[in-house]
């Protein structure tokens, strides 16, 4: 593979971003085609990735001087981000058209973020990781403040300020790591730590805490979750959907890589495993309890995403012991990332469609939604709510997988907390469902769904159901991705 081929998927997405801007500027008459150009770019990216997989030269684990690793792990996320990007583009069409301004910029920023996330999932070098993180974050700050109202501006500013602090902490952690090991490459960091890292243990723990804090912001786990409800509520809903799945998935992808590959040394892994376990327990519990009392559906989903991030972390806590358990925890995270993307995107798409028509995100305004739009109601009630309880939903398998990993890694207490939290989460989803099915609607007007929303919702629902009933393809993809990660080091 030559240079351009190696960044082909990102390149095609970024080039599309440029094309979108050009079309927007030079051919204003074709503005309504912009989202389709964006979709095309994402499709090319996915196809490019697909063409890698079928080649003999795949995987390549040391490209560009070892800064990127193009393995099954990266490919898993490439596909995921292309899918997430496409769904968000579809879900944005109505909103962007109505907003009317800066259509080209909106899609270009969205595509840039996608490219950044792809780089992030393949990066094996601290500098590259940081660059990719900023490439994906800066457009997100802008997008969060894209709306015209004060709420959205507040969300954008809040996200920017807190994001800047998080980046600072991250950089400081990386600097410490570099100071101790003298390298920014994950594989070399690992070798250096194994050789003579133990004497710097205190410094390394500090670096680790800073890294967790920096990424904790992106993963949206307690205690770095304070931006989540405000930004989800204030940002345009399609952007909130993107933040809740895209940047979270990328953060988990990179954290898994850094901690396993770079900081997997025995004398450290117990420490971070414990830190992750504690954060997991607190995030799940606090996220769920806060979600119960929310009256705004976007805030509720925000807190619920905090709780779900806690569940991901069970998988991270369980990978500390190399070998079999790593596979389990790691592939559990990947599995959960994918199914979480389906369910949350679906839920957000339904919310987008509903709130556009009723102009409110209050749960009580969803009363009687069943009579107004059965399709959206079913999407919203069953995508996020059923997952954790029912095997027809891919989320169920991911949870079983992660719990299994936890049990095998002797984290029974954490799994018990996880199971109890699944029960709690059932209640607030049920209360939304109850409101929608049984509440009395003030307005009986039916809510029509535009084709793009219907396609987005249909794709998400199909993903959930297909991978719920036939989860094996997804499970094997996640397993082979994690296998690749292990053989890298």
């Amino acid at each position: 593979m030559n240079g351009i081929d190696l960044v082909g998927p990102q390149f095609s997405v970024l080039a599309t971003a440029g094309i979108v801007l050009l079309v927007d500027g030079l051919m204003p008459g074709h503005r309504r085609h912009l989202p389709f150009i964006a979709l095309l770019g994402l499709a090319v990216s996915a196809l490019w990735t697909l063409s890698w997989v079928s080649r003999d030269s795949f995987p390549q684990k040391d490209v560009f001087g070892g800064t990127l690793s193009l393995d099954e792990y990266a490919v898993f996320f490439y596909f995921l981000f292309a899918g997430i990007g496409a769904t968000v583009v579809l879900a944005s069409i109505d909103w962007v058209n109505r907003e009317g301004r800066g259509q080209g910029e909106y899609y270009a920023l969205l595509l840039t973020t996608c490219a950044g996330l792809m780089f992030l999932s393949a990066a094996r070098d601290l500098i590259t990781i940081f660059l990719a993180l900023e490439l994906s974050s800066i457009p997100q700050y802008i997008l969060a403040g894209w709306g015209k109202d004060k709420r959205s501006s507040e969300a954008g500013l809040k996200y920017l300020l807190l994001g800047a602090i998080a980046s600072a902490m991250l950089l400081y952690g990386m600097a410490l790591l570099y100071g101790v090991t003298g390298t920014t490459m994950l594989s070399e960091i690992s070798a250096s730590l194994q050789a003579n890292g133990e004497q710097y243990r205190a410094l390394l723990v500090l670096a680790m805490v800073l890294l967790i804090a920096g990424f904790g912001f992106k993963m949206a786990v307690v205690p770095f979750q304070m931006w989540v409800p405000d930004v989800y509520q204030g940002a345009p809903t399609p952007v909130a959907a993107f933040l809740s799945v895209g940047s979270k998935a990328a953060a988990f992808a990179v954290v898994t890589r850094i901690f396993f590959e770079g900081l997997g040394a025995d004398f450290l892994s117990d420490d971070w495993s414990m830190i992750f376990a504690i954060i997991a327990a607190v995030s799940m519990t606090l996220g769920n309890l806060m979600a119960v009392v929310q009256t705004d559906i976007k805030r509720m989903l925000g807190y619920s995403s905090v709780a779900q991030a806690g569940t991901f972390l069970i998988g991270l806590a369980a990978i500390s012991v190399p070998g079999e358990r790593f596979d389990l925890g790691g592939s559990g995270i990947l599995l959960f990332t994918a199914s979480y993307a389906f369910t949350n995107l679906g839920a957000f798409v339904a919310i987008i469609a509903i709130s556009q028509k009723i102009g409110s995100d209050q749960i009580r305004d969803y009363a009687g939604m069943w009579k107004r739009s059965p399709l959206l109601t079913v999407g919203l009630a069953f995508l996020p709510g059923v997952p954790h309880r029912h095997p027809t939903n891919s989320g169920f398998w991911a949870k079983i997988y992660i719990f299994n990993a936890g049990v095998r890694a002797d984290l029974l207490w954490l799994v018990v907390i996880g199971v109890l939290n699944s029960v709690v989460s059932g209640f607030y989803y049920l209360s939304v469902a109850r409101q929608m099915f049984l509440g009395e609607a003030e307005d009986e007007k039916t809510i029509s769904t535009s084709p793009s929303i219907a396609v987005a919702l249909g794709a998400a629902t199909l993903g959930v159901l297909v991978f719920g009933l036939i989860p094996m393809p997804l499970i094997s993809a996640a397993e082979s991705a994690v296998d690749a990660l292990r053989t890298v080091s």
């Binding site: 029912h390 299994n404 109850r434 099915f437």
Partner: protein, 465 residues
């Protein structure tokens, strides 16, 4: 177009019935273990190989037949539904398939899939097509079951981790479950709670009268007829077979809770003023006998419990059908307002009297065989519980006869002049079919006993070892 839904639903359920009857004839009474097994690889998660495994044995085959019979009946009694018939029949079909799925699953997680799948259509059927406080009742039903099945899921996962499999066949083998994460007594308790909510036992029964009171007729038929049996089936198939040691420790509690449910249900039934709530409480009472039979932990007791499930399914199903037909015509279920209907509705009255006699355990009806078998099985070990339950049965004779007296006999009320009797062919079919089955199971119990006994024997081999 809308009206075609019911014909499609009827065709589907009749096809199911025909297939299950064919299974019944193909069933080999001498073979042990599961028959007609479908076994496909489904999901592999590390050490677990989950299978899409279905099959029947002597315990589940009769329950499958019961489900298919009552499915046809509930489609037929829904023929007059006019509100959103397509959605209604779609929900009903989903309900039927998930219940059959529960009975034939040989994988614990697949079982759980079907178990939970049933909630969704049930919730909608009660909440949308019900009457009275339908939303409250539907939510209560779902909350109770979800709470119970949360316990159950913990139990299932613990068992699976201890036995390294979700396969019901393997988990039922001796010595398979070793080294559990939490004490097996707790696992047993968790599973028991999950099933007991469905059965239901006193004091976890309060959702049942509400759900029955507000559900449409067909849903009451399915709820009383087969959904409650999922609880009894689970107790026998999972609790007793997989954890016989714990079951042996708990048997006194089973008998006590069973007898208490019988008595408590019967007493509360006497005080009911709404016909459907009355039948609901009588169900609590009758399902108590199932628990008593299971608690006896013997061939006879378990067979009696299984037979009681069949008998109660048919008899109570019939009773809800009759009350439903009556309600369609009089639009009231209040006992005080009804009366003297025997004149206006001779056929419905006959059906109701049959159902009532079945319910009070008249010989030559299915209920009699079941009750006697349970009592015989339990008497040796829990004399006190049997004596208490017999008192409950005596009370049941009291409330059944008293209710019949108040509802269909007595002086003719002129409020009801001009109401029609059952006159549609579908109404006739249901009544005649169910009455025939109740009598068939009463005079020729061997038709089911021959099937139940080998299955129960193989469970007993496990319990006694």
């Amino acid at each position: 177009m809308e009206q075609n839904a019911k014909w499609l639903a009827l065709a589907a359920t009749v096809a199911m019935l025909a297939l299950s009857v064919q299974m019944f004839f193909a069933f080999d009474l001498n073979a042990s273990g599961y028959q007609m097994v479908v076994d496909k690889k489904w999901v592999t998660i590390d050490q677990f190989e989950l299978r899409y495994a279905l099959g029947v044995d002597g315990l589940s085959m009769p329950l499958v037949l019961l489900t298919t019979c009552l499915s046809v009946a509930s489609v037929l009694v829904s023929f007059s539904i006019t509100k959103r018939p397509r959605a209604y029949f779609a929900c009903l079909m989903l309900l039927v398939s998930s219940v059959v799925g529960v009975f034939v699953s040989l994988d614990f997680l697949l079982f759980f899939l079907f178990w939970e799948l049933e909630l969704f259509p049930m919730f909608l059927l009660i909440a949308v097509w019900g009457s009275g406080r339908k939303e409250y009742s539907a939510t209560k039903f779902v909350l109770y079951t979800i709470a119970g099945s949360a316990f159950m899921l913990v139990g299932i996962l613990t068992l699976a981790f201890a036995g390294d499999t979700f396969d019901i066949r393997l988990l039922s083998e001796e010595g398979r479950i070793a080294d559990p994460l939490i004490p097996l007594g707790w696992v047993f308790f968790f599973l028991f709670i999950g099933f007991a909510v469905k059965l239901p036992i006193v004091p976890l029964h309060t959702w049942l009268p509400d759900a029955h009171g507000d559900a449409p007729t067909a849903v009451s038929v399915m709820l009383a007829g087969v959904l409650l049996k999922m609880g009894g089936y689970g107790l026998i198939r999972m609790c007793v077979t997989m954890l016989p040691d714990q079951a042996a420790e708990w048997d006194v509690w089973f008998a006590a809770i069973g007898a208490f449910s019988v008595l408590y249900g019967a007493f509360i039934t006497l005080r009911q003023t709404d016909v459907k709530r009355l039948i609901a409480y009588s169900s609590v009472s009758h399902m108590g006998l199932v628990l008593l039979g299971i608690g006896a932990l013997g061939d006879t007791g378990l067979t009696g419990a299984a037979y009681q499930m069949l008998a109660h399914g048919l008899i109570t199903g019939l009773m809800f059908v009759m009350v439903g037909l009556m309600y369609e015509r009089t639009h009231t279920r209040e006992i005080a307002r009804l009366g003297g209907l025997a004149r206006q509705m001779p056929l419905i009255t006959t059906g109701l009297v049959f159902a009532g006699f079945g319910s009070l355990g008249l010989p030559a009806m299915a209920g009699f065989i079941a009750e006697v078998t349970v009592f015989l099985g339990a008497f040796e070990r829990f004399e006190w519980a049997v004596l208490a339950s017999i008192l409950g049965v005596v009370l049941s004779a009291g409330y059944v006869l008293w209710t019949l007296q108040r509802v269909v006999f007595g002086p003719v009320k002129h409020d009801w002049d001009g109401v029609t009797d059952a006159h549609h062919w579908w109404e006739h079919t249901v009544v005649v079919g169910l009455v025939a089955l109740v009598i068939l199971l009463g005079v020729y119990p061997a038709i089911m006993m021959d099937m139940l006994e080998p299955a129960i024997d193989s469970i007993m081999v496990r319990v006694e070892s």
